[in-house]
């Protein structure tokens, strides 16, 4: 019985969050569901980049390229012209294709380090964009291609086909895709946490902190560096597929350097090296511009879109906020949103025992506990 209670206490917040996310489509309209969908897709990609840049310390500006490989891989494999495979098979193959693209880059990723790797991955974005524009027969060129909807055992994840109503709520494309996104995100969440908490995660952290020390401890440096790239690209590919399904059309200009920078910003704002942080950063970066555009008329200092030049439109306002957020987070909370949350939790825990011990009073307990909380915080620093 006490086992069950402790399990519930430990897993409770996660379970509650999962239940809440499952219930949301019954209460929110398509606009909010779309924000959620984009956020989930971004979170999957951000978790992948977090694994690579946050945990393994390999700066990558090429994430947009791997997203593009996933998205276009799915569209080509499932559509016409293309092999026209069943969409579910195409999804799996697209993810593998993105992983293979990451693997092909491993001769560079395994050797080039730090800033050099960052700029080398920059090349992927520009070369990839060029290929997307010129390989018309596969990618549809400048105008892109429309995305075939995902079908699983006769159930289509879009608005077409027989209407579906659950508990009085009509299930259109957004509602159906929401559950698909949720499933894929759950897969990402658990696999990434498993990876980070297990042997590979510790090896990658060791690599980041000191390559020499890690290789002395028996970590195969080049292999782990390449593997981190492959796994990260596979998450990016999955995110790309989900993005393609939500957009219903893929165009080359979306997969630009700005997208790579967005993903980098997500993991930095969220806090490097943590799955929850990457998710929080992804939601922040994705939802901010969409919300600003929607509520532009109610915000002070922000003009409605297209109201003359010189005024600050919602897009600009969200860009300002977004750039300022990156600077502010790194200035005042270098460990990101995740670090802020952890410090808040530590403070709550420190305060909690005080009322239970009336004789001791808050002052001595506050004076005694920082030492212990500090060490726990430090010990936890690199765990996800």
């Amino acid at each position: 019985m006490s086992d069950l209670r402790s399990l519930l206490l430990r897993r409770g917040p996660l379970l509650a969050a999962a239940l809440l996310l499952c219930a949301l489509p019954f209460y929110l309209d398509a606009f909010w569901l779309r924000i959620g969908l984009f956020s989930m897709a971004a979170a999957i990609g951000a978790v992948g980049l977090g694994l690579l840049s946050g945990t393994a310390g390999q700066l990558s500006l090429g994430h947009a390229f791997f997203l593009a490989v996933g998205a276009y891989g799915y569209v080509w494999l499932a559509g016409e012209p293309g092999p026209g495979l069943p969409p579910a098979v195409a999804l799996v193959l697209a993810v593998l294709l993105a992983g293979a693209a990451g693997g092909l880059f491993s001769p560079v990723a395994g050797r080039v380090k730090g800033i050099y790797l960052g700029v080398a991955t920059l090349a992927l974005v520009f070369l990839g964009h060029h290929v997307l524009l010129t390989a018309d027969s596969v990618t549809g060129g400048f105008n892109g291609r429309s995305v075939p909807p995902l079908e699983l055992g006769g159930f289509a994840f879009d608005g077409s086909g027989p209407g579906l109503t659950v508990l009085g709520v009509p299930f259109g494309a957004e509602e159906r895709l929401w559950y698909l996104g949720l499933t894929l995100f759950a897969v990402t969440w658990f696999t990434a946490r498993g990876l980070l908490r297990g042997r590979p995660g510790r090896a990658l952290v060791a690599l980041r902190d000191s390559e020499t020390a890690a290789s002395v401890m028996g970590v195969h440096v080049a292999r782990y560096r390449s593997a981190a790239f492959v796994v990260s690209s596979m998450y990016a590919g999955l995110a790309g597929v989900l993005l393609a399904l939500s957009f219903r059309r893929v165009v080359p200009d979306y997969f630009s350097l700005a997208l790579s920078v967005d993903y980098l910003a997500m993991i930095v704002i969220g806090g490097l090296g943590s799955v929850a942080g990457a998710t929080a950063g992804a939601v922040f970066v994705t939802a901010l511009p969409l919300l600003m555009t929607r509520y532009a008329d109610q915000l002070p200092l922000v003009a409605a879109p297209g109201s003359g030049d010189g005024s600050i439109g919602p897009t600009e306002a969200s860009r300002y906020l977004y750039g300022a957020a990156i600077v502010a987070v790194l200035l005042f909370a270098p460990d990101g949103l995740h670090g802020l949350a952890r410090r808040a939790r530590a403070r709550l825990r420190r305060r909690a025992p005080a009322p239970g011990a009336p004789g001791a009073g808050p002052v001595p307990s506050a004076a005694a506990s920082p030492v212990t909380t500090d060490t726990t915080a430090r010990a936890k620093e690199h765990t996800p």
């Binding site: 310390g57 700066l59 001769p107 560079v108 050797r111 080039v112 380090k113 730090g114 800033i115 050099y116 960052g118 700029v119 080398a120 920059l122 090349a123 520009f126 070369l127 964009h129 060029h130 290929v131 524009l133 010129t134 390989a135 390559e211 020499t212 020390a213 350097l257 920078v261 980098l264 910003a265 930095v268 030049d309 010189g310 600050i312 600009e316 860009r319 300002y320 977004y322 750039g323 300022a324 957020a325 990156i326 600077v327 790194l330 200035l331 270098p334």
Partner: protein, 299 residues
Amino acid sequence: MTGFLDSLFNGLALGSVYALIALGFVTVFKASGVLSFTHGSLLLLGGYLVAVLHDDLGFAGALALAVLVTAAAAGVLDRLVLQRVGGSDPHAAHVQTIVTIGVDIVLVTDLARRIGGDLLPLGDPWGSAVSDLGPVTVADSRVAAILVSAAAIGGAFALFRFTPWGLALRAAAEDREAAALMGVRLTRVRTAAWCLAGGLAALAAVFLVAFPAPGLERTTGQLALKAFPAAILGGMASPVGALVGSLLIGLTEAFVAGYQTDLHVLGEGFGDVAPYAVMVLVLLVRPAGLFAAKGAVRV
């Protein structure tokens, strides 16, 4: 043959402008270990200032003021923002690199909002004039680009080589702690390096948007990204490397564009991305650039 000479000349002109930008990257990297993503927006700032001021101050006055203001902006950015980030963290330079991305987003958004969809002329004295140089016809602006860049780069190298600041910069790049113990004020050396880079970026802006380019537009800052491969090719810590890398990148771009019809298989507009392809190939062979110091890791 004229096609070859044309491409050669264009490549040299492009390369010398890229060298101005790449030298900025390298100077900043040597002094602070930061890869400056703000460079594109500083370049845009310099160009924008010249564009709005040249009516009142004349081209030379506007350019001088733009160089000074951009240099000051870069210095302020380093002193007031970057140096406060990261503290003693060994990865501080990486964190500061990401901060420069944030600053770049804010600056570019603001400048792009001011520029709007316009093409701003810079009022440069060369206009669209051309002269005949032997068998090839060259744009005066490109000749000016080569000459001014050569002078500016020569000046920067003289600064590195002969001034106390240059000595301090080289000492700090070699061994930060030892330099500090010898009395080098690292923060000042660093800020001065940022100022120099900012000034060079403003100068480069003028030649990037001069004829045959149509004028300053909101995306001009992105051209600075092409100097990334140049700086990386040479090895981030080597000014000579940046120079060689820039010429290589400029020539690559010009020749690929010049012989586009023969390279049809690579697709239209490959010239724009060819620098990146060259960079990846070089990094495969020499992972730290062509002119990198022999790497020795202290354990």
